[in-house]
């Protein structure tokens, strides 16, 4: 009886919204994350983790905290650095000369990596990739997005960067130079985007809100929201 009543309501409901009946019967489900079998390296990771815990080298709590720290790194850190570079010419100079030292002013410690900041200008466009794996400036941008780690991006951006940038909605004029930076060993790159026009006199905080992850990888440009 209840089921019938609900069915009736659903029926009426769907008609009221002009939806197709097909959705009522033929639902699609998102696969669960456990649905595919773990790969070789995933299994090895689990095995090593269990062994390390068993042998007393690490605790589950320590691992969880390390994971939490990794997850707390996010693009807003890079955005603050970019905004400072836009508003403070001396900082910009220091940042381009020695990324690690300049980032230390923000309390960012990128470990052994050499942070290398490359600046977009009106004649040069920079984009970063790691063709071998997924080296990424995690200390300032957090974890890389899936597309950055995809084979498609890694193989194509180095061969046809202009076509790839276009797919991100970024068209580069033929009279500009495109520089692809393949971070393979101990360098990690951050793109310093161009400050958008119409932001004169803005505070660092307001500027930082314009700087997205993709701008700092080099596939997009900061945009001033259209508030007119």
């Amino acid at each position: 009886m209840m089921a019938d009543e609900r069915g009736m309501q659903d029926h009426t409901h769907y008609h009221a919204h002009g939806e197709d009946h097909v959705h009522d019967h033929d639902r699609t489900f998102q696969p669960d994350i456990e649905d595919s079998a773990p790969g070789r390296y995933e299994l090895m990771t689990y095995a090593i983790r269990e062994l390390m815990e068993e042998m007393g080298h690490l605790t589950a709590e320590e691992l969880r905290r390390a994971q939490e720290k990794l997850d707390s790194w996010e693009p807003s850190q890079g955005a603050r650095i970019v905004a400072r570079a836009w508003t403070d010419p001396d900082f910009r100079k220091r940042l381009l000369e020695d990324g690690n030292a300049a980032m230390a002013e923000f309390g960012i410690e990128p470990g052994g990596a050499k942070m290398t900041v490359v600046e977009n200008t009106d004649t040069v466009r920079n984009v970063i990739v790691c063709t071998l794996c997924s080296c990424y400036p995690r200390a300032v941008l957090g974890l890389p997005p899936d597309w950055y780690r995809s084979k498609s991006y890694r193989s194509r951006v180095v061969i046809e960067p202009r076509a790839v940038l276009k797919e991100f909605g970024t068209e580069i004029p033929a009279d500009m130079t495109v520089r692809v930076h393949d971070s393979l060993a101990d360098l990690r790159y951050l793109v310093l985007p161009r400050r958008p026009a119409g932001t004169e006199g803005w505070s660092e905080e307001r500027l930082a809100a314009l700087v997205t992850r993709d701008c700092m990888v080099g596939v997009a440009d900061p945009e001033v929201p259209d508030t007119a």
């Binding site: 009279d175 393949d182 393979l184």
Partner: protein, 94 residues
């Protein structure tokens, strides 16, 4: 310590295919570029990968290659580049 090369030097990446963990991608092996900057010295990641200490440290260079040199049928304008960080033992004067 800046090692054997200085900015502006022309260098060729050796074309060799040793097995193991190598940080120089296939596409750049055998290509000629210009030292863009000297990046300092680091423990050799190709040794670190196997549990060795990576010493002596190796000099790392950022080498700029013209895309048309790397990909003969590159579709973009002349002047587009790919910059790659490469260790000294992969480089020879060109």
């Amino acid at each position: 310590m800046t090692g054997p090369f200085a900015p502006g030097d022309r260098v060729r990446v050796i074309r060799t295919h040793p097995p193991g963990h190598r940080r120089t991608p296939y596409y750049i092996r055998g290509k000629t570029g210009v030292i863009e900057r000297v990046c300092g010295s680091f423990p050799n990641p190709e040794e670190l990968a196997y549990g060795f200490d990576g010493l002596p440290r190796k000099n790392l260079y950022r080498v700029r290659f013209q895309q048309r040199e790397v990909w003969p049928d590159y579709g973009g304008p002349a002047g587009d580049t790919v910059d790659v960080d490469i260790y000294e033992h992969w480089l020879r004067p060109a």
